[in-house]
Every structure is written in C-alpha cells, then in structure tokens.
Symmetry: C2
Subunit: 225 residues, 2 copies
DNA sequence: ACCTGAACACCGTTCAAGT
DNA sequence: ACCTGAACACCGTTCAAGT
C-alpha cells in the first residue's frame, strides 16, 4: 500500500498498543514485529514515529507517570508537606502496581521522560515551598523515588518460592518459614511499604525541625523540646 | 573436539566471564554466543552448565550479594541494631555501586539466589535478636532492600541530561537548574542516600521504642518523653 | 558427561522503493 | 511523509552426532 493518505499510525496509538502488550504479556513480549502486527502494519513502520524501541518503552513508562496524582502539592505549605508526601507516595505506588511490568524501565530515573520530570518538579517545588532548603528538596525527591520504585520492583517480580525444600535451614538459620513468604508476599510487601514510608516521613520530620528551628547556639533563649 | 577429558567449562568460569562482560559492556552485551566466544567454546556448550541465560545472570547477581558484608550482624544486640543496619546498608550499596549493570537483575528480589537469601536471613536474624517482633523484622529487611536497590538503580543508569534546552521552564517551573543535575548527579544521589538512610533509621528507632517500651496504658507510672 | 555444528524461530534496525 | 518488503547482523535454545 505504501503511503496511505491518512496515516495508519501515530505515537499515541503505538504507545497505547505497547502499553497493553506490556501489561498483558510483559516486557519481553514487546518486539517491534509483534507490536507492529497488533497495529496492523509491518515492523519498520514504527521507525517513522520513534527513533528506536527504547523510545517506545520510555513513552510507555511515561504514560504511567502521568497517572500519578500531584494535586496534593498544589496548596502545600509548611504544615502539611508530610501529609502531601505521604499521599503522593501512595498514589505513585498505586500507579506502579497497576503496571508492574514497566517498572524496570521507569526505575532508571526520570531521564528525558516529560511526565517523570513533571513529578520530580512538583515534589521539589512543594518541598521548597514548605520551607526545605533547595538542596534538601532535591534529595527528598530522589530518596522517595528510590524507596517507591524499589518497592515496586521487589514486590511484583521475583519473590520467594513456595517450596519448603528450597530453603535449607542449615543455609538460612532464621528463614525457617521462608517458603511461607511466597503466599504472603503481597502482604509482606504492603507491610514493608507502610512501615518504611512511615519511618521515612518520621525521620524527615526530625530533620525538618533542624532546619525550621533556629539552632540553640544561635538562639539561646529558646527551650528545647 | 567433542568431549574433552577435562571439562573446558565450569559454572564458576562461566559466571566469572559473564560478570566481567556485564561490568565492562553492560547487560545487553551478554549474549550466549559472545559469552561462549570469550570462554573459547561454542554457544550451546553453556547449556550443559546452566538451564538458560537467566540462570547465568542470576548467578552473576548472586556473586555481587556475596560481597555484602554481614559481619556486623553477628554480635548484634538491642543496643546497636541501628548501627548494624547502617553499616550493612553502606556495604550493600558499595557492592551494588561496584557492579551497576547487574542491579536490575538483583533488584527483583532474593528469589532463588542463595547469597541474596543469606543476606535476608542475616538481617532478619539480627533484628529479631535485637528485640524486633518477627513480622517487623521481615518488613525491615524488605524495606531496606527497596531503598538500597532503588537508589542503585536510579543512580547509575538513567539520569538527567546535560542540556539546558531539554528542560523548558514552562513545563517544569521549579527545575530551572535541572541540567545542572547531570554533572552533579552522583553528588545528588549520594546526598539523597545519606539523608534517606538517616531518616529511615531515625524513623525505625521511633517505632522500636513503641515495641520495646510498655505502652502507657499498661504502665501508667512511666512518664512520656 | 560435555562439547560440536546445524537448525529453528525469532530479534532490532537500515534502506531503497513506492505513493 | 509514511508505509512496504528485503536484507543484515544478530539473538536463545534444541538436538542429533561425536567422543
């Protein structure tokens, strides 16, 4: 057919098809040939819209970042930066949990992905607005991303094996019930995420006090809590 | 040559060659054919020692876990669980930083990898020994892994681009100096890791007090801090 | 048991040719 | 500008054959 008068493909259509292929069959199932077949075109056609396959996967990852709710950062002030961070983390995690197979691509940093950058921008802006020094605001965005993407990677891929004989007590003296982790994996992951998130926010709150409160060497009259 | 009287390959030799190939040229550079060529054999020979390529990469990842220092957990007691966790986190991160390209494989959970399990076992055992309830000890091992592997993934792969025009202020109002992050990426990552680790440990210490200290409803005489 | 070459069913990407 | 088929240089894995 050569060139049709109305384009058969668009970046959006390609990303949509790639996303559902990733969701239903995993990252490895996405080949340029299979993806093209789903779209009713031949493999090389994709290269009219994306430079290479990696760019397609980046776009799929970015479509997930778009789903992350950022509204809690709009009215953020010094009083509720912690609550905003908490709600954002839950929304972020939920978005990743809905598309677990693309997480490895997303975990490699915001890079050139526009929506990923928008997320980083929103967190940074809100933390600065709440009184954090810019250098700390940058770090908070990074470390929250470490924890959230790390948990999404660890949860939904690998995991333990549901086979008692796989874990010899002689090798792992404390993991007597490790095989139970297989069935309880999801529960463990959720618990670990909750505990970790709370610890992270509690810890940041302690550091925030150091910044917000004049140090005792400067203001001696102030009593310490 | 068919079968030589002394085997040309061994699992160890294969893992060693694969590791240095991963380190020097990245994950994508490892194909069964290239790996076999480095070892002076033909591609299919590898299948006499590993079931498939994924098992080889798992072994490469596990060789990194072996490098993680666990000695700090041997004499752990209630007083220094926090310090042990801190030192272990630094050692873990250093091991990943030395072999950044294999981190995506390692980040998918301990799965069937023996050394990965040994790490999980040591953390769990030490935390229980320090007074944490078993359910919490499991979660601590998981959440620390989230943070550490997440930071290793985010740091050494992707990242920002050193190009001012890549970040239009209209799109990202707060990321005016985002392109500076490219050159300062490593510094930002280290700072974020330090801040995050401290927050995590501070936060866990607060939670530890809740477990170690009888609640005020039980022991009314005790004053609150 | 452990290695080989041949073979199968795939890949990502380039490119000239078509409209 | 946008699609095509052919082609290039690869893949992971299986398997019969060799010693």
């Amino acid at each position: 057919m050569a060139r049709p008068r109305k384009p058969l493909l668009s970046r959006d259509r390609i990303v949509e098809a790639a996303s559902s292929l990733v969701d239903s069959e995993g990252l490895d199932a996405v080949s340029t040939r299979r993806l093209a077949a789903v779209l009713g075109v031949s493999g090389p056609s994709l290269y009219n819209h994306f430079r290479n396959k990696d760019e397609i996967l980046d776009a799929v990852a970015d479509a997930v970042s778009v789903q992350v709710d950022l509204s809690m950062f709009e009215a953020s002030d010094a009083r509720d930066w912690r609550e905003a961070l908490h709600d954002w983390a839950l929304s972020y995690r939920a978005a990743l949990a809905a598309h677990p197979h693309i997480v490895p691509v997303l975990a490699r940093g915001p890079g050139r992905r526009p929506a990923g950058l928008r997320v980083a921008d929103a967190v940074f802006g809100a933390m600065v607005g709440a009184g954090w020094p810019p250098a700390q605001a940058t770090r908070i965005g990074a470390l929250m991303r470490y924890f959230i993407t790390g948990s999404a990677l660890g949860s939904f891929a690998g995991g333990f094996v549901d086979d008692e004989s796989a874990y010899d007590p002689a090798d792992y003296p404390h993991l007597g019930q490790a095989h139970l982790l297989a069935e309880r994996g999801r529960e463990v992951d959720e618990g670990a995420f909750e505990v970790g998130l709370r610890a992270l926010l509690d810890g940041l709150a302690l550091q925030y006090e150091e910044y917000a409160r004049p140090t005792e060497t400067v203001r001696r009259g102030r009593k310490r809590p």
